[in-house]
């Protein structure tokens, strides 16, 4: 309890001493203090602006102490001793004025309240999801990891983000590569991070993924949907940004020696979606994902046995077990091409198979050209 008395003593003595200390020659310390207080104030202001309805309990020394005491109980004895000693030394120097303490009081209360509140809401089901299962809170929770992959690991560089409309429907058509659907994730993140309106991309995924545990729940919570004509048309009709990977398994399970050569573009289902909903097609090329896993062969027998659409044998997989899932840190480029408008076609164009397959080939050529252009410019797989 002696530490508590120390805290109280230091705290009580503070307001008067601060003004006296200001006249002493320790100017640098004083400035540091002021800077710290200013920064804290700014954070408090920002939080206040974002959640105006939150008001902490009134500030008092006694409450602060009990709050500290409560939270100290959560640590191990050594930890709490260390924390208390640190606190004692800080207060011994009599660093802060009362406003700073108020700021700290606010922040500690806010974060405790917010986290406790969030946990409670998740347990009682008081969170919102849209009709496709998109859960913004979940997205915020997992985003830091994917941001790390995006910014630090693969150092994704984008171009042509202005080709994506600020609002309204559009269909992103991209090449597919890299054994695991990292490219879809990065494409979605690229639009979310770089586009001024932070638009959510609804990727259409293959039938295999909903059968996999965690992947299934994850995709639903991220607001993605299964690749069917009905889903694509419904999403586009509600003016969403939809991304498709028409190569499908043939693209994502490509061998290393076939890299960057586009497979067949499905059966042209994406063109039918675009024609039905009059959504412009935006070709997208992802370069760098092909080299994340170096797939040397495909074990079709194994794939058939475990019900997977393909089973890659790479340099590291399956030899290293779970380590084989770690992708190589290549340098990525995601380019968004000029939109291809389809509104000049008449109503029933979606049923014209000739037109559909022609358009599918045309889009495929555009994406292939974009890839080749980027490959010609690229000097190194890892450094760009």
């Amino acid at each position: 309890m002696s530490s508590d008395e120390m805290i109280e003593a230091g705290f009580d003595g503070m307001p008067g001493e601060v003004t006296e200390m200001g006249e002493e020659p320790e100017v640098t310390d004083e400035e540091l203090r002021r800077q710290l207080a200013d920064q804290l104030d700014q954070i408090v202001e920002r939080v206040k602006a974002s959640t105006p309805e939150y008001t902490p309990p009134a500030f008092s020394a006694h409450r602060l102490l009990s709050l500290i005491e409560q939270n100290l109980k959560r640590f191990s004895p050594e930890m709490s001793l260390a924390i208390l000693e640190r606190l004692r030394s800080t207060i011994g120097e009599d660093l802060f004025d009362v406003d700073t303490w108020k700021g700290i009081w606010y922040m500690v209360n806010y974060s405790l309240e917010y986290q406790g509140d969030m946990l409670k809401r998740r347990l009682t089901g008081e969170y919102e999801t849209d009709e496709w299962g998109y859960d913004p809170e979940f997205m915020e929770a997992v985003k830091p990891f994917f941001d790390f992959m995006y910014k630090t690991y693969w150092r994704v560089e984008t171009s042509g983000i202005e080709n994506i409309p600020d609002e309204g429907r559009a269909l992103l058509v991209s090449n597919h590569s890299g054994q695991l659907p990292w490219d879809g994730t990065m494409l979605g993140l690229a639009v979310y991070n770089e586009h001024p309106n932070q638009r959510l991309v609804r990727s259409l995924y293959a039938t295999w993924f909903p059968t996999l545990p965690f992947v299934s729940a994850f995709l639903t919570r991220m607001g993605q949907a299964l690749a069917t004509d009905e889903n694509g048309i419904r999403l586009l009709e509600s003016d969403e940004l939809v991304a498709v990977f028409p190569e499908g398994y043939k693209g994502v399970g490509k061998l290393y020696k076939e890299r960057y050569r586009l497979a067949r573009f499905g059966r042209g289902g994406f063109v039918r979606m675009a024609l039905t909903t009059q959504a412009p097609i935006i070709p997208v090329s992802v370069v760098g994902a092909e080299e994340t896993y170096i797939s040397l062969a495909k074990a079709d027998a194994v794939a058939k046995l475990i019900g997977f659409p393909y089973f890659p044998i790479s340099l590291t997989f399956p030899w290293l077990g779970p380590l084989g899932f770690i992708p190589l840190p290549t340098k990525w480029y995601i380019d968004f091409g000029e939109p291809i408008p389809v509104d000049s076609y008449h109503e029933g164009a979606a049923n014209n198979m000739m037109l559909v397959s022609q358009l599918a080939d045309q889009v495929r050529n555009v994406v292939q050209e974009m890839i080749f252009k980027r490959l010609a410019d690229r000097k190194s797989v890892f450094f760009g």
């Binding site: 009682t124 089901g125 545990p213 299964l226």
Partner: protein, 375 residues
């Protein structure tokens, strides 16, 4: 006064039959005062092989099996206008007995209706007939092929019945055949797979799967069926409450903590239980596929053509259910007591009315006697 419209409700001894019949009788007593169209002036006949456990006031009960060949004569002689078919049974695993009652019974009933010239048939079905599958689109429209899981008797029978109804509709274009497909029915009194699932002390979910679910309140199911009886809407309609929620959210709202089980173990366990004959829908009342893959129905037709809006949203339904479950710990007897009180009240009323009638009768007789004597 115009002739009374006769409505026959099958499965009157079951929960849905009793609820719908009571609701229709209330509608008839209320009279044609509101905008409910041609309401009022209804005569409700209840049909089942056993009398309803709780007496339904104002119901004309007839004890018969729907597979009885004399049903045609009954429909003809009573001049039945509408049949509301709710006499389905759920034995858990598929069995010949349930197939005979559900599928053969419906076929015979529909045949009799066509023969007797019944105007309308309303059938309660389920969105489980679509089947839960990884290749399902996000929203299943009424035209989607029916691929319901065939390891549960009720679902298998419903798929059969719906397939039969599809053909029957083409053969009998002048008959109004309305089928409502409901998702998980949740409510304080109904006993359905999902309420059994949510009442279990430990409800398993599949680890890493969180499919989107739809629910509907039990009262909205009754309202929808009555709406179908009172209005003419031929065709198949998905009817569900507003709001689509992930399974984990559904369980949290209902006050349950999900217990995740790795899906392969869960399937093996179910197979094991099934092969030993122990699993009759008691352990996991819902087929595992329906906890794994999405089976969300599209409500466009309900909004645009049926023009029926369920009164409870999904969240409200589950809140109410959770509240009721919590309350059950404290006052398990209230329902029984309230019901008993109501029944006694009715009995007293009935006896009083009977006495009055008797008295009036006696008085009239006396008067007649006097008249006769005077003559």
């Amino acid at each position: 006064m115009a002739e009374k419209k006769v409505i026959l409700v099958t499965g009157i001894a079951g929960y849905w039959g009793g609820q719908v019949a009571s609701r229709l009788i209330a509608e008839a007593e209320q009279g044609p005062d509101d905008s409910a169209g041609e309401s009022g002036d209804l005569h409700i006949i209840g049909l089942d092989i056993e009398p309803p456990k709780q007496e339904i006031k104002g119901l004309d009960f007839i004890q018969a099996d729907i597979r009885n060949p004399l049903l045609i004569d009954l429909l003809k002689s009573e001049d039945v206008h509408t049949v509301c078919h709710l006499g389905f049974i759920d034995y858990g695993r598929p069995s010949e007995a349930s197939f005979d009652i559900n599928v053969m019974g419906t076929m015979k009933l529909l045949g009799a209706c066509a023969e007797a010239g019944t105007r309308k048939v309303v059938i309660k079905s389920s969105t489980t007939v679509y089947g839960a599958s990884p290749s399902n689109p996000g929203f299943l429209t009424e035209q989607h092929p029916l691929q319901g899981n065939r390891s549960r008797g009720y679902t298998r029978d419903m798929v059969e019945i719906e397939a039969f109804c599809n053909g029957f509709r083409r053969q009998q274009p002048e008959m109004i055949l309305t089928i409502f497909r409901f998702p998980n029915i949740v409510g304080p009194t109904a006993d359905t797979p999902i309420t059994r699932f949510l009442k279990e002390p430990r409800s398993p979910v599949l680890l890493g799967f969180d499919p989107l679910m739809q629910v509907i309140h039990e009262r909205d199911v009754v309202e929808a069926l009555v709406y179908g009886v009172m209005n003419d809407h031929p065709g198949v309609f998905n009817v569900a409450a507003d709001g689509i929620l992930p399974l984990t959210k559904l369980m949290s709202l209902a006050g349950k903590l999900p217990i995740p089980v790795f899906h392969l173990f869960a399937y093996w366990g179910m197979d094991l239980l099934g092969s030993t004959g122990m699993n009759d829908g008691r352990y996991i009342p819902i087929e595992l596929d329906y906890l794994r893959y999405p089976w969300v129905a599209d409500l466009t037709r309900m909004h645009n053509e049926l023009d029926f809006i369920p009164r409870y949203t999904a969240d409200e339904t589950l809140y109410e259910f959770a509240g009721q479950q919590r309350l059950r710990h404290y006052v398990p007897e209230t329902d029984a007591l309230a019901y008993d009180e109501e029944r006694l009240h009715d009995t007293i009323e009935r006896r009083r009315r009977a006495k009055e009638r008797q008295k009036a009768n006696a008085a009239r007789m006396a008067e007649e006697d006097v008249d006769n004597e005077q003559r």
